[in-house]
Every structure is written in C-alpha cells, then in structure tokens.
Assembly symmetry: C2
Homo-oligomer: 464 residues x 2
C-alpha cells in the first residue's frame, strides 16, 4: 500500500500542481532572457444559463499560495527527467513569487469580463502561478455562487451544507463547507471543516441507525438517551407519518424529563405534503417547537418551490447538488495576459481568437450605486482613469507579501449578505434575472480599438 | 495568513473528513453497547441520462484509508467541545478499523444496485468510515466513467487530460489525472500527477506565450529554440490559417537542422473545417508528419461528432467537461446497511423509504459471458448461493489489513480497456445504449419478500 499516501496534496507540493505547459513556456522565457513584467487578469468569460451574478471567493488561498510557492529538490529531480535544462532548474530552485497583486475582496458580487485579480510580476513568475490560481478561484467562486442562490431561495430559513460524500474529493469537501458558509449557510456536516475553519457542524442520524435497531422507536430512544437535548430524529425510514408519531412520543417523554427534541427530518418522498402532515401531527401533540428539517436531492429550485407552495419546513439540508454545483460544475474563468512592462514602458496585449477575445490594459472596475445605495452599473476602465463609482480592485500583495488585512470567514460572510442585499432583486432572482449592466469605459474602448488596428497592421497577421 | 495552511487535508486528518452524524450515531451505538457486526454495501442507485455503465474506481484509496484511519489528540479535543462523552472519546482515541472488506477490482464495469464494496465490521467502525468511502468512490467512479466515454469516442486517437484548472480543487485535480489515465487517456497536463502517479505529462504553450512576443513567429522561434524536438505550436491566437503557415515555416527550419515539429494545436473556432484547412497547409509544405492537436470545450459528444464528420484531428486535449463530468458531476452512490450479525446469527436489513429502497442480505454479483467471452447478464445473488457466472466481489481486507495484491495503474488501465471491449457495443454506445440486464437471484428475491412482510407485520410500522 505504498502509492496511495501520495493522494494527499501537501503544501510543499502545491507548486507542482501546475499544467506542464506553464513550465515549458517558462523554460523558453528563461532561455530567451525575458525579464519584463507581465500583467495578467483573472476574469470570468460568461454567465452560465440561469445565473446572473457570481460571488468571488478563494482569494485567501490564492494569496497564501503566492506567498509560499516553491520547488523542492524532489520536484527539481523530477523535472530534470522532463527535458528541462540545468540553468532553468537552478532558477526554479530559488523561485519565489515577487509580484504585486490587486484583487476584489472575497465576497464581492462580480460579473463577466471584470478583472477579479490582477497580477503584475516578472513574466515567468506570473505564468507559473496560473493553474493553481484558476483552480482555486474556479472552485470557490462556483461553490459560493451556487450556495448563495440556495440561501436566497430559503428566505431566511437555515441551510446546512451536507455535500461531503459527493464533493469532488477532500479539498472540494473542505471548500464546499467554507464557501456555503460565507454564502450564508448556517453550517456544515463536515467535521474537519468545523475544526479547521470554525464553522458550526450539524448532523444527527442516518437510516442505517434506524435499521440497526429492532424498530424505529428503539432507535429513537437510544439516540436521545445519548443526546437528550437538541436532537433531530429521521422519520422516513419506514413510514413518515408513523415516524412522526413515534418522534412525538419521544418528544413527550423528553419533555417529561426536562429535555426538548429539536426537530424531525424528512429525507424522501413528497416533502411538501409530508411536511404539512407531519406539522399537523406534531402540533396535535402540542409540539409546535419541534422543527421540521428537510433534505434529499435539494437545490435552489426545489427549495424555492417548496417555500412558494407553503411547505412547513423550517430548515434545509442541502448536499450533492449545491456542493457539486450540479447544473454548472465549473466557471468559465481564465487568466489572460493584458499587457507587459518593459524598461518602464507599458504595452497592452490582447488575443483575437474567435469567441475568446480579451481586454487589454491595466484595468479597474468601478461600481456605481444609486441614492439608496443599490448597485446600478459597473464600468471596466483603466486603472488611472477617472470614472464614477467605487473602485473594486485593491492592492493586496506587494513583492510577494500580503499587504492587506485578511478578513475572517465571519466578515466575508457578513459582506456577502450585505452585497447580495445591495444587488437589486431584478438582477439576482433565480429565474429570468435581468442582465446587470457592465460597460467599458471610453478610454478602455480606445485602447482596444487602437491595439486591434495595430495587430491587423502587423504584416504577419491577416484577419478576416 | 494563519488560517489558510489548513486547506491541505493531511493523511492524519482524514478521519475527521466525516459527516457529523456518523459520530453522533456512533456515540449512541457506543452508549447502547452495540457491538454486533454490521454489513454495509456501497452501490449506485441509478444511471444518469446518457450513461449506460459505470467504471468502478477508487478502491486503492479506500483501502489505504481503512488501514490508516485514526483520531489524533487534536481531534479528540475538538470533539470534546461537541457534546461527546469521555468514554466515547476514549474509544475514539484507540479507534482502528478491524473489518473485512469484499470489493470488485478497480476498473470493473458496473451497473446500478450491484454492491461494489461490502464492509463487515463492528457497527461503530462500519458507520464511521461511510463518508470518506462514498466521497472517494463517487469521485473516481464518476471521473473514470466519464473519461472512458471520451476515450471511446476518440476511437484510438490519443486523449490528454487537461482539466486541472477547472477540477474541484487539488484532490480532484489529482484524481482527474489518475482516473482519465486508467480510463485510457494517454496522459495529463498535471505535473504533480506525473510525479506522484508516474502518468505521462503533456503540454506546450498558452496564448499568453504567443502574446508575450512581438509576433507569433517570434514566439514560435523562441519556443523551438528551447524545445527543438517534439513541440506543439498553438496557432489560433490571431488567425489559425496564418498560424498554420507560420508553424509550417518553423517546421521547415527545424527539419533543416535535423529536428521535427510534433504538432500544431487548435483551441477555438470551428475545429472541423479548421482542421481540414490546416491539414492542407501542412501537407502543402510536405509536413504530413506534423500532427493536429485539438482542444477547447471538448467532451465525448464533440469528439464523436468531429470524428464522424471527418475532422483531420490526430489527438484531443480534453479538460473541463471531462474532469468535472459536467453533465453529471456526481454518482448516485450510497452506503447502506444490508444486515447485522449478532451472536453468530445473521439478520438482513432493508429500508423502505419511497424511491430509495435497498437490498438485504450478504450479496455477490455474478457476471455471465457468452461463448465469445462477451458480457451477457449480471445476477445479484446471495454470497452463498450457486449462481451461474463469475463472482465479481473478492475479499480484499481482513481484520483491517489488505489481503490482496494492489494492481498498478497500468494494470488497472489494461483491465478497463479489456472490460470495455468485453461489454457489447449496444450497451456502451454514447447515445441510446441498451440497458444491460441485471437481475436479482431467486434467493435474494425471497429474502427481500420475506423481510418486507416481517417489517409490515411489525406493529410499529404501518405501510401504505
């Protein structure tokens, strides 16, 4: 059983979590003695169907990566076998990231084409960090965005993240808990996320627990003997309504001993009608304080429909579909060169590939609010341009060291809630949301036009 | 920057990558002095649309987890704050998995309801390992299945896994490489997967490399100076056909110096018509050996269509859609109690929840072949039943120790290829595949009928 221990990606190995072409490009830059500064933007190309915004997340991990990335002698020895030359390997041995980073705060509501992170660094450094940055921001922005939709749909009812068994591995399991929490979930079932991030953990029992006893009642009794307060009993293993009666009996016994049952859980069947029947049963026993917790194949649409139809559900456990972002399990996020600085001179860059153009220039995003403080319009402009609105990109790293205070998860969570409430409802409804206006500034349009003209003039390029 | 280092899940922490309810259930089992053996099955509930089989993967990681899972004093201290009692915490301190495991070999073609792994262990141990097992098998089975479809669609043309920037985090990035490789991909762009698993790594250049030079030609020259042999030039940054001409020029210069360009890469636009035009350009320069490599939003359907329409593509780079299994980013995989053994007596269990029933009994899967060796039908039967066909579940662990030889990735890869070729085409075509027949043995049906009757007789359960 040797090999498997390698499945745990350690901090020491994160530099190698890189697409091979980053290394081949860098080797060639190195040989060509390219030492200019490059400017790269992280941005999202487009909105998927049924999404109208993104919640930017993952910056904390990106900055930690940039501060700590390095190559070990094991890495160097591996790369030696892959055609890399000695002087480049020597360079990698001493590699550290020395660049400057501007970024939006985690939890910012963002839209396509807007730069989320801007990296300015010697071109080799800027290139080598691409893969990890994209991987991190892709995952966390996707998860936070999806979870924010579920939280919005629940209209204030608690949402607990239950996805660990179906997240894409261990890292995604941790990030699903982190991202759901900053999106407004109350907590997670993931115990390690509770320990490492301080996120509240929740959970009670599975069907197997019920099945392990002679009958449902015995299983309930055993459970509340161990946890007399705050328990949630799963009532759908055999028959939901009989289960609700059994749970009510338990709740009454607990009450008699000065304890209280917290909730019952429904995990299958028609949650709408079951929740109403179960509510009646519980209320019939005077157990109006016992809550109904629902789970099972939920997402924002199911939660929304249940609430609109008047389901008697007090809280939701949402797993697989939220924690895999099942209707769109990735974000069209990219990392693109927007310019180079050589001998103090800045030269913008852009790509003309069909359907995949990029924006040149050192850019800033300006967000304008109306008199009520609500978001009205964003403008992508140049960094040194005077544009109305709050500039969203801030300097967070200089010479490879973090220069900003890192917010706590609680702070990011509060800011997501604030930001979402500041985005007018018409731009964030689950279905048929309007497209939030994002325009390009006059100067940015100029730079783009002029660069396209130059590229076309270039003898080696014939554009159709 | 304190918190972020915790993002790396280490081997020491994997026991805590668990849903909280596993721990609460176990605490209650512990207090109830439940020491019987429990039998759990890992199985997949149903096929998603457009899938007709699964390729089982992840067993190596599951077994390594079971051999090594334990709780550290940091874990115990965290759990102490979460209402767990001292004697249970003492139990966890000494916890190790002592069970017996039967499983199908990695790379087996499997179908819904078939037990893939069967765990027999003291009930607390069997319960505590659920979350990690499901997470691992879900991810790897999903990825291997999806990749096998892409590999089949490519009809022998090499497929390279390019998904690292969009996989769900670091762990998924490693598993995407592992799973694509065992599914038949030629390699990956993930350098760490190359180092840790020995998978071939591939990759050349991104658009940013082209943009970093005055013009495309200069970028190509710089690259082949560093890598004169085996390079692939990306030709779509400005204009594909002009790019192909530039690449041809470079190839001719290389030839004059005794080197050879390996390929050109197309990453955007209409790959079908572009590939034909580019092939003509290359052939016009006598460069029939220069291959055309295509990438960009590919999946099994796109690859299939390109090949059917006669695209001149020699190899495919497939990323996001394959490595996130975008059309179905999870498997409906579950871990269900099928019985208990107390004082040497076996008692089957089953769950009657609507739409989520389970199969009781200690089960085996028997696969029948026809005279040509092709798979004909599976039967899920009882372990001690005499059923025609090869039994697929084998003992792989006893008293918590691996008892089988673990196959290498190469061996698993060969076995996937062999298994897929043994599954008749009608059961594995991309669209409209027939449902492979899986039946329940007579004895299993008997056990199920009888148990359902008993459950209904049970006074506490009123079934509708």
């Amino acid at each position: 059983m040797e090999g498997s221990k390698f499945d745990f990606v350690t901090a020491a190995d994160m530099s190698m979590l890189v697409d091979f072409y980053e290394l081949t490009m860098c080797a060639s830059y190195f040989e060509s003695r390219r030492e200019e500064m490059a400017v790269f933007d992280v941005f999202i190309r487009r909105l998927p169907p049924h999404r109208s915004y993104f919640v930017f997340a993952g910056l904390e991990q990106v900055l930690w990566f940039l501060e700590n990335v390095k190559f070990t002698s094991e890495h160097i020895e591996f790369l030696r076998k892959k055609r890399f030359k000695q002087d480049f390997l020597e360079y990698l041995k001493k590699f550290r990231f020395t660049g400057e980073v501007w970024a939006m705060p985690e939890g910012t509501i963002v839209f396509p084409e807007e730069p989320l992170i801007r990296i300015t660094a010697p071109i080799i450094e800027a290139q080598l960090v691409e893969t990890f940055i994209l991987n991190t921001v892709n995952l966390q922005t996707m998860l936070t965005t999806k979870a924010s939709r579920v939280v919005c749909a629940a209209q204030g009812r608690p949402v607990i993240e239950f996805g660990l068994r179906r997240t894409h591995g261990m890292d995604a399991g941790m990030k699903a808990a982190r991202c759901s929490y900053i999106a407004g979930a109350e907590g997670t079932s993931n115990v390690l996320a509770g320990m490492k991030y301080g996120i509240p953990v929740f959970g009670t029992m599975a069907h197997s627990f019920i099945l392990a006893f002679e009958n449902e009642n015995d299983s309930f009794k055993a459970f509340v003997k161990t946890f007399p307060d705050g328990s949630t009993l799963l009532i759908d293993t055999y028959d939901d309504l009989k289960g609700a009666e059994n749970a009510a009996e338990i709740a009454e016994q607990l009450e008699a001993n000065g304890h209280r049952l917290s909730a019952v859980r429904l995990d299958s069947g028609d949650l709408l009608s079951l929740s109403k029947s179960v509510r009646r049963i519980l209320d019939g026993h005077g157990l109006d304080y016992v809550k109904i917790f629902a789970s099972g194949d939920l997402d924002e649409y199911a939660v929304d429909e249940l609430i609109r139809k008047g389901a008697e559900i007090d809280a939701f456990g949402v797993g697989t579909r939220m924690s895999t972002s099942n209707d769109r399990p990735y974000v069209d996020i990219v990392y693109k060169l927007s310019g180079r600085i050589e001998n103090g001179m800045y030269a913008p860059s852009m790509k003309l590939s069909k359907g995949k153009p990029t924006l040149p220039g050192i850019k800033q995003v300006f967000r304008r609010r109306n008199s009520k403080g609500q978001y009205v319009e964003d403008t992508i402009g140049l960094d040194d341009e005077k544009v109305e609105g709050e500039p969203l990109l801030r300097k967070v790293m200089e010479d490879g060291h973090v220069t900003c205070r890192m917010p706590s998860l609680e702070e990011i969570r509060a800011s997501v809630a604030e930001n979402l409430s500041t985005l007018p409802e018409k731009y964030r409804r689950l279905r048929g949301a309007l497209k939030y206006p994002v325009r390009l500034s006059r100067k940015l349009q100029q730079v783009r036009r002029q660069l396209a003209k130059e590229l076309k003039r270039n003898a080696r390029i014939s554009l159709n």
